[in-house]
Symmetry: C2
Subunit: 238 residues, 2 copies
């Protein structure tokens, strides 16, 4: 289990940067400038399993007065992977030993898993947008200094795309709309529908998918990535 | 690792039967009659990691004179999950302890993994169609009676659809064509392109995807499944 963890955890802030143009494809570990040739660069990030914690839960898990310690910045300004990890324990004491905590803290603690992770824990995680955790399964978090029992908060995060209002205007969409992400890769091209637009004044253009989705389409081997309106340029529903 | 294995192995012959019509959805563990209302039923099966073995390798791994013992029939007539499992060992001695053997035996041994599995083993498995293993990575197979070193044969099996020639005619496709599979599920609808048609005189209509693909689209929670021509009914390329 430790080895799988490590391999997946390594992805946590890995970002695949792909130019919007099919002819200008760039893939590396570093974000590109947010705008090139007047078009925003499209960053597709794989979010490996992780959790968000409240200030109170940070103190229970890591000790009184403890704070999250930023280790790696995420692509979105102000967000980071923390040094801290927790053990996530499911029913029947199955567990994931090292689940990364992302910062900053939030008003409710939440655990985001791919289905592969949820199956290994024995948790039937529903697909929800981040923050919408009412009625979702709980779990137990174990830190070096204490234990938190979450009554709810375990989800598979629904795929979504962050962007600022100028990007939204360029794509002809608005906050709350759905888009499609088409990832072209040899033998395993995938179109992901139901991609929720999260537009605000300042976010960078970035799609968030999980490890199952990234593996299904072989994102690392992608030759082209397109962000499309849900029904744009297409008479059928695909 | 053992728990994840068990959960995934349980999927190996799990079949999701979904009527072609969106209004008549049937999901259970048992194959439906191959034709209902004049239309073939569409079976979408998740192939968990597994391997195929030669007669010679069966004897090395399980002892002189050993044969594969059918445990569960697969949906395609004549194919089965065997009682036997092997340990698959990758570089740096990472391993998957119980990988199911599927029968009957073949002319070349082959290990089919999802990317999640391949990452956990540290093997960079290419996406290949079954049988096309030239130049692919190898691994070590460990059985109760012996060890086999494969110089090649570890792949991620490319998605495909089995069908007989009558089904192919109904869909307007032929052996070797590509189709699309659209799986509609709340918040995670996916269209998988590049689905290779494997048509012959006798096969049953059945799509094979792997666990990553099944998890990406939440196949268990699917509300509609459609098998579509690669460019059929659609002016765009999606």
């Amino acid at each position: 289990m430790v080895q799988l963890d490590r391999a997946i955890i390594e992805n946590i802030v890995r970002q695949i940067v792909l130019a919007r143009s099919s002819s200008a494809l760039a893939v590396d570990g570093l974000p590109k400038p947010a705008v090139a040739d007047g078009k925003p660069n499209l960053v597709v990030s794989i979010s490996a399993r992780h959790c968000h914690l409240t200030v109170e839960h940070v103190e229970v898990l890591f000790g009184p007065g403890a704070k999250l310690i930023p280790e790696k910045p995420l692509y979105q300004d102000g967000f980071y992977a923390a040094e801290q990890t927790v053990m996530v324990v499911g029913p029947r004491r199955r567990m994931l030993p090292t689940v990364r905590v992302l910062g900053p803290t939030r008003s409710a603690s939440q655990v985001e898993l791919a289905f592969t992770d949820a199956i290994s824990l024995g948790i039937d995680a529903p697909v929800r947008h981040s923050g919408n955790i009412k009625g979702t399964p709980g779990c137990v978090l174990v830190g070096p200094k204490g234990v938190v029992e979450l009554s709810e908060g375990v989800i598979r995060a629904a795929r979504h795309v962050h962007m600022n209002d100028r990007d939204a205007e360029r794509y002809g969409v608005k906050n709350g709309d759905l888009m499609r992400l088409r990832i072209e890769a040899p033998h395993c091209t995938v179109v992901m529908e139901d991609l929720l637009v999260r537009a605000d004044a300042t976010s960078k253009l970035e799609v968030h998918i999980d490890t199952d989705e990234g593996n299904a389409c072989n994102l690392d081997g992608a030759t082209k990535v397109e962000l499309l309106k849900q029904d744009g340029g297409c008479k059928c529903k695909h």
